[in-house]
């Protein structure tokens, strides 16, 4: 039992309240309401920690803790269970709450300086606060519908913040692109939610986990694939990766928060939650191996695919964006490989080992820190030199000593050099992938992809660092170190980049923090087979090689970079990578030709067919109206006119009798009297004088 369980609502309501206040009257506050947003986020962090510590003390160490804080009924029963807005507190969600609120807080503090000179900062703070609500809600939802709702709130905020500088056409286009591309995944996610509702009549994770055995094998494969489709959109995996590099048009803080540390992780989180389908713990259910292979395959492929594009890019933020895609793909690879191992063990009736699951979430945790650090450092650099182009940087370590050091920490963590955090989680993912190879040989290929990616990752991370901080300054600005309020969050994050990998030791293994299935034994690097040391040593070795290559090309220039593009093949490769394998061009062409063509066709149909029908109906109506007008004028009006005309004519004739001659009137009187007399007395007279009967 969590004491004071109601406080978990405040975790969501504080940033939501800050959003409302800042959104409505933010301009009246100092810093556009930035302090208010920071304060609300600090409150959320304190409450998240309070919940997290309780979860830890009450069973998370060496077991699981699950509690649902039941909320109000949002939809009463409609052919199934009622839908409540509730908060799920378990090992994973309480950890995510702390992670998200901590990163949000640091980045909001950083924003106080970074966004200081921006006109629209009230809008900025309102939107990031709403985003924080969305992310916290996503990781604490206890059912798929609630998760989808908060997921879409994040999508909206992502759109708004990418297009924050909407007067720049590229930013507006990038926002539109991000919204449309992620929408493809969101629709798949929605379909998955609908199928789950139809099948289970309930959307709560725990209820579904119990009933998974009743699903037909096809649906058991289809549902996690559709959910993964949503994750592919949100986490920018191939083939829906195209939006993330363009999303760098937004402010760097937004890139750090939404497009590196939190929102893009929601896809990984969703896939982790969909383990209830991937690894059904009910006995006798055949796990959906096909779906697992798709997840792992897309993860392994995207990791390599995105890393290659990062190698040639010269925009400091886009390199990091490609790196984010690649690292997220590592997580999917870890989830896929882990699920395959677990599913195999479960179908054989053995003890399951959730090493892959916890390795992927371990990487999520570490990556959130070091990628936020890298982005914020890049923001600090951009702040100083007013450009994103690394060709106009160089030698900045003299002007910006703090930034260069913290970025070195981030790069080492990204490259996976011991003892920085990336080493532990990346090594574990690769080990699990290798282990899964024993169950399905395809994983050996994915392992090879992962090793090559590790090499490329180290290479582009240090290419970035050397191009930015080493050598001579090539730009025309006067770079200077960023203010304290920006460097302090950087130093905190640098500390985490160093130690977040080691945090698993006091927790007796990271698996305890994200618990799934049965407890995962042990500490990282302790009590594992010797082969894993070899695997992690390999990963470390290729990373060192990558750094060495970057050093010799970009620092000492012993190997000239031109040599790689000198041959025709090399030049073609460079052009292909710089054009991002032409995939963006294909999507653009698809959008321009197919979608716009379809729209044109529909427009034609609308104008000619639909409008034609409408116009024909209108014209027919008009014709009927004209006929009825004629009838009205001729027949109805004719009758009325004829009656009145005849009245006039009769009265005119009668008028002729009114001569005005007194004597003619007198004649009439006399004649009338005589007639009257004969009428009254005529009969008697006749009888008297002619003799009656």
């Amino acid at each position: 039992m969590i004491a004071n369980a109601w406080v978990v609502w405040l975790i969501l309501l504080l940033p939501l309240g800050a959003f409302l206040v800042v959104g409505l009257i933010g301009r009246r506050f100092r810093e556009g309401g930035g302090y208010l947003v920071v304060g609300a986020m600090a409150g959320s962090l304190v409450l998240s920690l309070y919940v997290f510590v309780q979860v830890l003390l009450q069973g998370a160490l060496g077991g699981s803790f699950t509690e649902t804080v039941t909320g109000y009924v949002w939809l009463p029963s409609i052919g199934g269970a009622e839908i409540r807005i509730s908060i799920l507190i378990d090992n994973l969600s309480s950890l995510m709450l702390v992670l998200v609120s901590f990163l949000c807080l640091l980045i909001f503090v950083y924003s106080l300086a970074y966004m200081h000179e921006d006109e629209g900062k009230a809008r900025y703070y309102a939107e990031v606060s709403l985003f924080a609500t969305g992310m916290l809600g996503t990781v604490s939802a206890d059912n798929f519908l609630q998760l989808l709702i908060f997921w879409e709130i994040m999508g909206l905020c992502s759109y708004l913040l990418i297009g924050f500088w909407y007067h720049k056409p590229e930013a507006a286009a990038a926002a539109k692109k991000a919204f449309l591309v992620t929408r493809v995944g969101d629709v798949l996610f929605l379909v998955a939610v609908l199928i789950i509702w139809i099948e289970f009549g309930d959307l709560r994770f725990d209820v579904i986990a119990k009933g998974v055995g009743l699903l037909s094998p096809h649906l058991l494969t289809l549902i996690p694939l559709l959910l993964f489709g949503g994750a592919v959109g949100k986490s920018a995996q191939f083939p829906l990766h195209a939006w993330l590099p363009d999303a760098m048009e937004g402010p760097t803080t937004v890139s750090a928060l939404i497009h590196a540390a939190t929102m893009v992780k929601a896809g990984v989180y969703l896939t982790a939650r969909s383990f209830i389908f991937l690894v059904p713990l009910a006995p006798g259910v055949e796990p959906p191996f096909t779906a697992i292979l798709v997840i792992a395959g897309i993860g392994g492929f995207t990791a390599l695919f995105a890393a290659t594009m990062a190698v040639v890019n010269t925009d400091i933020k886009r390199v990091l964006a490609f790196s984010t895609i690649s690292q997220l793909a590592y997580m999917f690879l870890g989830l896929g490989a882990g699920a395959y191992v677990m599913a195999t063990q479960a179908s054989r009736g053995e003890e399951v080992n959730s090493a892959g699951y916890s390795a992927a979430l371990y990487h999520l945790f570490n990556h959130a820190f070091f990628k936020a650090l890298l982005f914020l450092s890049a923001g600090s650099v951009i702040h100083a030199v007013n450009t994103n182009d690394m060709r106009e940087m160089g030698g900045l370590s003299k002007a910006m000593p703090t930034t260069s050091k913290v970025m070195l920490f981030g790069s080492l963590a990204l490259a996976g050099i011991v003892p920085f955090s990336g080493f532990f989680s990346k090594g574990e993912i690769l080990s699990v992938t290798f282990d899964a190879g024993a169950d399905h040989p395809g994983f050996y290929l994915l392992f090879a992809f992962g090793i090559v990616t590790a090499f490329l990752t180290a290479f582009y991370a240090f290419r970035l660092w050397f191009m930015t901080f080493h050598g001579e300054y090539r730009g025309h600005e006067h770079p200077h170190e960023s203010p304290r309020v920006m460097t302090t969050p950087l130093m905190i994050l640098a500390g985490f980049a160093l130690v977040s990998g080691l945090l698993a030791y006091p927790m007796q293994g990271f698996g305890n923090l994200v618990f799934f299935g049965r407890p995962e034994a042990g500490f990282p690097l302790v009590g594992i087979p010797w082969s894993h040391y070899l695997l992690e040593g390999t990963a470390l070795g290729v990373a060192v090689l990558g750094i060495a290559l970057a050093w010799s090309i970009y620092a000492t220039k012993r190997i000239p970079a031109e040599r790689f593009t000198a041959t025709r093949g090399g030049a073609f490769l460079h052009r292909m990578l710089a054009r991002r394998y032409w995939i963006d061009d294909v999507y653009d062409a698809f959008g321009r030709n197919v979608v716009v063509g379809l729209a044109r066709g529909l427009d034609w149909f609308d104008r000619n067919v639909i409008d034609g029908i409408v116009n024909a109906v209108g014209r027919g109506g008009m014709r009927v109206a004209v006929q009825s007008d004629v009838f009205d004028r001729r027949v109805i009006d004719g009758a009325v006119n004829a009656v009145s005309l005849e009245t006039i004519r009769t009265s005119w004739r009668l008028r002729q009798r009114q001569t005005g001659q007194v004597q003619s009137y007198a004649w009439v009187i006399v004649v009338g009297l005589v007639v009257l007399f004969f009428l009254m007395f005529g009969q008697r007279l006749v009888e008297r004088f002619l003799g009656g009967p």
């Binding site: 008028r655 009114q658 001569t659 005005g660 001659q661 007194v662 004597q663 007198a666 004649w667 006399v670």
Partner: protein, 100 residues
């Protein structure tokens, strides 16, 4: 005593003369005079029947009739005077403005 028939015949003759004057003559004054003759014819009838039946109320009615005739003559003459002043004639076939 004059027989009633003679008196009635005289009255009828007077009535016919008056009626002829009203219907046939053009001059407004003569028409007025003809109306007086008509009234006198009826008054003569009242008187005749009064003396015939010995009932005096007929004679009272005759006096009332004479008063009415006097008033009528006064009003009629005033009307014709007014018509003459505005239209310059009292020829009844020319006085045609009492119509639509």
């Amino acid at each position: 005593m004059i027989p009633l028939q003679y008196e009635l015949l005289l009255s009828a003759a007077l009535f016919c003369i008056g009626l002829y004057g009203i219907l046939a003559r053009r001059n407004g004054i003569i028409v007025l005079m003809s109306i007086e003759i008509l009234l006198n014819a009826s008054i003569l009838n009242f008187v005749a029947f009064s003396s015939y039946s010995g009932n005096p109320s007929g004679q009272v009615f005759a006096l009332l009739g004479i008063a009415v005739a006097a008033a009528e003559a006064a009003v009629g003459l005033a009307v014709f005077l007014s018509i003459y002043q505005t239209h310059g004639t009292i020829e009844l076939d020319k006085v045609r403005f009492l119509k639509w």
